[in-house]
Every structure is written in structure tokens, then in C-alpha cells.
């Protein structure tokens, strides 16, 4: 590529993967305060892939995240892995935004900055909708290279292996493109001490929704096009039958399955 490649990685702060998650009774939104906020695990693969591409082809990696004040920790984590700069979109009006609003905000940030590659993790471990990369691709009118288990950059031609139910498809497009990566595409690096120190001095831009050209009335809970009517904890399961294997454990399972007409 003749010019310096510009790579954006969109990341999200989510409750720790291993924590129990719950909705807040007052507004049916995810309770983000009750668990530690971490960089969405699948986004770590996106950051790593961007850094690997940068190492091979040069260029600059910018981390983009929409989220409350403390989401800045997540951007710093990605910067400490080695990314060059961060953009944080933070605005009280954004609380309760649905995927449509989120994609509009991200598209607003990304559109005029000349990114060649926009990389996402394939889903967040909290909402698990897996739609934002496709939505951003739709809004920006850029080719969609999603669910990549492998990414190759050859000048302005980007080729991926798109994971499918039966294996994978090889897909090719010309940059700029939107990419999402699946787990196991790489092994995300751990931030080094040096990386952590360096991250504190890296440029971080903080933007409000006005800065990204999105109207306050089009984001947040009140503008969401789908709403939670009600929610409840799943009723506890009746205790099952647990037996110790005394040489006939397999037969006992078969009997259980036969009683329930599975076999």
C-alpha cells in the first residue's frame, strides 16, 4: 500500500466473562456496576490482529470505544497492548442505546477518518447479538468481511477465511473494509510493563455525540426501537437424579433416555 495504512479497532467494555450478569429492575438495563468491567474478550483478538497487520505492513492502530467514563480503562488496556491512539465516545445520552444507535455512533466516528481497515470482535460477551459489525458495514457502505478466522492483507486487497457452519468461505474485498474476527484467530498478547507505562502517554480523544454528528434524540433508551417489557430470573430447575457409577452408569443413562423416549 502506497500510503500509511490506517486501522481502527472497535472495542467494548463488558462485565467480566466469568461474572454473573443481571438486569437492573429500575430500567431493565444491564447492571454494569456490579461486576468488574473488562475489555470484551473477543475484542482482544481484534486488537491483536490489528497489531499483527501493523507489524507486517506498517501503519497506525486506533482504538475506538463507545461507553461510560470507565470504558477508558478498556481503551488503555488496548493501548498497553501496543495500539497507537484512542477515541472514546462518552455521553450521558448514550445509556440504553440499542445496536442500531451504537452502529450509528460508531459509523459517525469512523466515516471521515480514512481508515483502511475497521476491525471488530465477532460479538460482545454481554449482549451477544453479533450484529454491530454488519450494521456498521451497512451504514458506511463498506464491504463486510465478518467472522474471519484468518485475515490476509495484500496491498489494497483484503482476503479472509469466513467461518461457516460447514467450514469456511474465502472472501475477498478491496479496502476500505469492515472486518470481524472470531476467537482463536490468534493469541492475544499480554501488555508488558513498558506497554502499560507507554499507554498512559498515548493520545486519547474524547468525543460527545454532537462531535460525531448524532442527534441526542436518536440514541439512548428512549430512542431504542425495541424495548424490554419485563424480565425474570429463570425458575430454578427441579433437582435431577444423580447416581454414582458402580459399573452400570452407562446402562442407567440409557434407561433414563429410554424412559424419556429419546432412544
Amino acid at each position: 500500500m502506497g500510503k500509511r495504512m490506517k486501522i481502527a479497532v472497535c472495542v467494548k467494555q463488558v462485565p467480566d466473562t466469568w461474572a454473573e450478569k443481571r438486569l437492573r429492575p429500575a430500567d431493565s438495563l444491564l447492571d454494569r456496576e456490579s461486576a468488574e468491567g473488562v475489555l470484551n474478550e473477543l475484542d482482544e483478538y481484534a486488537v491483536e490482529e490489528a497489531l499483527k497487520i501493523q507489524e507486517a505492513h506498517g501503519g497506525e492502530v486506533t482504538i475506538v470505544s463507545m461507553g461510560p467514563e470507565r470504558a477508558v480503562e478498556t481503551i488503555r488496556k488496548a493501548l498497553s497492548m501496543g495500539a497507537d491512539a484512542g477515541i472514546h465516545i462518552v455521553d450521558d445520552a448514550l445509556s440504553g442505546s440499542d445496536a442500531l444507535a451504537t452502529s450509528a455512533v460508531l459509523a459517525g466516528v469512523l466515516k471521515d477518518r480514512g481508515f483502511d481497515l475497521i476491525i471488530f470482535g465477532s460479538e460482545s460477551t454481554d449482549a451477544r447479538m453479533s450484529v454491530v459489525p454488519a450494521m456498521v458495514s451497512e451504514r458506511l457502505g463498506l464491504p463486510q468481511l465478518t467472522f474471519a478466522q484468518k485475515v490476509d492483507v495484500n496491498g489494497g486487497t483484503i482476503t479472509i477465511e469466513r467461518q461457516t457452519d460447514y467450514g469456511f468461505d474465502s472472501v475477498e474485498a478491496s479496502s476500505p473494509v469492515v472486518v470481524s474476527v472470531v476467537e482463536k484467530i490468534n493469541e492475544p498478547r499480554y501488555p508488558s510493563f513498558k506497554g502499560i507505562m507507554a499507554a498512559k502517554k498515548k493520545p486519547l480523544e474524547t468525543l460527545s455525540i454532537v462531535d460525531v454528528g448524532v442527534a441526542a434524540g436518536s440514541v439512548g433508551t428512549s430512542a431504542a426501537w425495541s424495548v424490554v417489557a419485563d424480565f425474570a430470573a429463570r425458575p430454578p430447575k427441579a433437582a435431577g437424579t444423580i447416581v454414582s457409577d458402580e459399573g452400570t452408569g452407562g446402562v442407567k443413562i440409557a434407561e433414563f433416555l429410554a424412559t424419556n423416549k429419546i432412544i
Binding site: 450494521m135 477465511e161 469466513r162 478491496s174 452408569g249 429419546i262
Partner: protein, 318 residues
Amino acid sequence: MAPILVVVEHADGVVKKVTLELLTLARSLGEPAAVWLGPGYGDTGASQLAEYGVATAYVVDNSDMVDFVVAPKTEALAAVVKQASPAAILIASSAEGKEIAGRLAIKIESGVITDAVAIAPDLTATQSVFGGSTIVHSTVTHGIPIITVRPNSTAPQAAATALSRVDVEVPVSEGARGAKVTGRTAATKASRPELSEAAIVVSGGRGVGGPEGFGVIESLADSLGAAVGASRAATDAGWYPHQYQVGQTGKTVSPQLYVANGISGAIQHRAGMQTSKMIVAVNKDSEAPIFELADFGVVGDLFAVVPQLTDEVQKRKG
């Protein structure tokens, strides 16, 4: 009456089971209509759709649908939506199905709900979130509800009707032809059902001990006609391919029967299988949290219990 539009998942001209489930669900909400995107619509597909109550099948027989990633399908679907004016649009909750739903929501300015496990006649969707720990009821408040539905949410039931085909011509825009499919590679796997669609899933975890240990898991799966799954511990260790991972960072399944072998049942795994209709667990550790979920559990060595179960299943099949 405005129809309930169902996007057909098909392979080699055959309608997939998940679509038959969606058509059955659609009939409880109104009059189902179907959209067939791409080549392959023929007698086989048409008779399946008719058998499941489809009066109108909109067919977009255009190879751009499969030669380029997702965007052409979304354009075509938006055109069909304009023509059919449906009351709701149902799409299977596959990776691609959700992408189509997301892009369509922008195109037709409508709200989208993903991973529904049930839909009420007033179009309120039920979702099972946070690994099945919370049941949520949601509604779309703007536009035509777009709802993706998880496989195995409805038992397919036939209700035959007369079907008519409506061909829809969609000129696919240049912009939608940006991501070109240049090749398709099938992973080496036996004739097992797809993990997310399978009625029975047999999984292995840390207790399987290594890649060779998955032999007994696969044998049991094959005796039951099941798909094979794996916990993150097993896929992270490289014992089984990553695409078979069940869990929070892998696939979500809700089969009729889930058999967890050597899997402790950490939240990471439960998030992907907790909504299974029936759960059987085999684990050496009687304290393993998987037993809290199990309808039937055996505390013991999976290398003794699982082969015995396989033999017993074979015997009972005659």
C-alpha cells in the same frame, strides 16, 4: 392480512429444519409467507414449504445472493418486504441470519430482536439471556418487527396448503457486491448434524484428557445421531476444533438432549447450553456444578460410562 415473512435457510435445494420450525411458529402468529434467496428453488423446496403452510413463496433466483457476503441478500429481502408488507419478519438465529437481520433493520428502519426462543401472538419475543439465567420479554416499537429465532425453539409441524411462487427481480447494487466469495471449504467432518441445529449434542471437556479421548465422545454422538460439542477448556487445549466450542464465547445450543462429559459446568459453558431441554452429565467430581443443571447425572469415569452407554444405545437400536 399481512403475512409473517420467513427467510428460508436452504442447502442443495432442501429447506433446513430450522426453517420448518420458523414456519410452524409463523403459523401461530398469522399467515406465513417465505422468501427464498439465491438459486436452488425447485420441486423439493416448494413441496416442503407447501407442506408447512406457505401460500406464497417469494423467490429471488440470483446467484449474487451466494457469491457475495450478506449485503445482496439484505437488499433482496428489503425489496420483498416492500412488496409483501409483512406484519413481522422471522430469520433463523444463525451467524449470517443475525447479520441479515441487523442490516435489514437499518434499511427498512425497524427494530430488531435476536435469539428469540418464543414469540407470542402479539409479537412479544421471549429471550433467554446471560447463559439462560434470565428470561426477557421484548417488543419492537418501531417499524416492522425483525426477529431472529434460535433453532430448536419450536417443534416443526406440517399443515399443508397450496403454494404459489412469486419471482422477485432485484437489481443488486454495485456497493453490495464488495465482498466476493472466492471459494468454499468444507471442514473434514462426518455426516453429523450441524451443532447449532442438532436435536442431540454430545460434548466433551477437560475430563476427556486429550484429542484422542474425543473418540469415545464421537462414538456416542454417532450412536445417537448427535452433533459433537466441546467446552472451552478442550478447544483452548487444541483437543477439538474451535468451531465446535459450546459456551459464552462459542456456540449457543438448545437441543432436546445435551450430554456433558467431563465438563465441570463453569458459567462460560453453561451460557451456551443451559436452555437445553434435557441435560445428562457424566463427571468424576460429584461437586461439579454441571450436576446442578443435570436431569440425570452419573458420578464416575467417563471412559467407563460413555462406551457402556454407546453399546447400550446400539443394542436398543437393535
